[in-house]
């Protein structure tokens, strides 16, 4: 009878496939990861304010145009002059301002006006529009 020498060597599992997978995962997460925090502006909608605002005083209708031009009660003025012209029409600092968008205005134009009014401490703004486009 032939007796073969059987050597029972402990075979270590190969780590290479695992390292491959780990590297792939690492590259994936490095590519999709986004660092830093997003800057935001707060928008409080009428339902959040929970109040019915009474309109007082002369008309204060701003129409948002494209670029740095806005229309106040039908006459076009540069955005920089808006706050001063508005204050002359406001019976109180908290008086309501009505904002409407023209067809050519984009979100940046709207945001520019909102931020400008906010910087001038004019925060009671109502924006006209429909909800049937979605």
């Amino acid at each position: 009878m032939i007796q073969l020498n059987t050597i029972n060597r402990r075979r270590r599992p190969s780590l290479t496939p695992m390292i491959d997978v780990v590297f792939l995962l690492l590259i994936f997460f490095m590519l999709v990861a986004r660092f830093g925090v997003d800057n935001v502006i707060d928008i409080n909608l009428p339902a959040a304010r929970g109040q019915n605002v009474q309109y007082e005083g002369p008309p204060r209708l701003i129409e948002i145009k494209s670029g740095d031009i806005v229309s106040l009660n039908g006459s076009e003025i540069p955005l920089g002059q808006l706050a001063n012209k508005l204050r002359a029409l406001m019976p109180s600092p908290n008086a309501l301002i009505v904002l409407r968008s023209s067809a050519e205005a984009n979100t940046q134009d709207l945001l520019n006006i909102l931020l400008h009014l906010k910087s001038e401490k004019i925060t009671n703004v109502s924006v006209l529009g429909s909800d049937n486009e979605f």
């Binding site: 780590l15 390292i19 780990v22 590297f23 995962l25 690492l26 997460f29 490095m30 999709v32 990861a33 986004r34 660092f35 830093g36 925090v37 997003d38 800057n39 935001v40 502006i41 707060d42 928008i43 409080n44 909608l45 009428p46 339902a47 959040a48 948002i64 968008s101 023209s102 067809a103 205005a105 984009n106 979100t107 940046q108 134009d109 709207l110 945001l111 520019n112 931020l115 924006v127 006209l128 529009g129 429909s130 909800d131 049937n132 486009e133 979605f134």
Partner: protein, 131 residues
């Protein structure tokens, strides 16, 4: 004379420290990254100065062509999820070239759904972050 033989048998490099580092990096990226499904179209965020940071991870994306995306869903499906979930607040990432009338319409729709607290993501006009 007795010369000792120099052994040229190279020892295997120890890869365990490298694997440790790679695992640590992997764990770091797993923890810090957020996998929010984003629309295929690139969104150019509007510019604006703000000191406050996004608190709400509930992102609503709206592209320049007025396509909305919420939790990876678009169109009516996305609106259905918003109606069902009724999130108290949303973080809106809108394209700066989106028609203002469409954006106002979006705000009105969210208002009608009693979604009261909104945050809008803006980019610093001076230091625009890289995408």
């Amino acid at each position: 004379m007795n010369f000792s033989k120099t052994s040229y048998v190279s020892e295997k490099e120890n890869i365990v420290p490298m694997i440790n580092v790679v695992f640590l990096l992997l764990i770091f990226f797993l923890i810090t990254s957020s996998l929010v499904p984003r629309p295929g179209e690139i969104i150019d965020r509007p510019f604006g100065l703000s000191n406050s940071h996004a608190k709400d991870p509930n992102y609503l994306f709206i592209t320049s062509s007025a396509e909305i995306m919420y939790l990876g869903q678009t169109g009516e499906t996305a609106w259905g999820i918003i109606k069902k979930n009724k999130p108290g607040s949303l973080t809106i990432e809108a394209d700066r070239n989106l028609a203002a009338q469409k954006f106002i319409s979006l705000l009105n729709k969210l208002d009608s759904m009693n979604i009261t607290q909104l945050e809008m993501i803006v980019n610093d006009p001076i230091n625009e972050p890289q995408r």
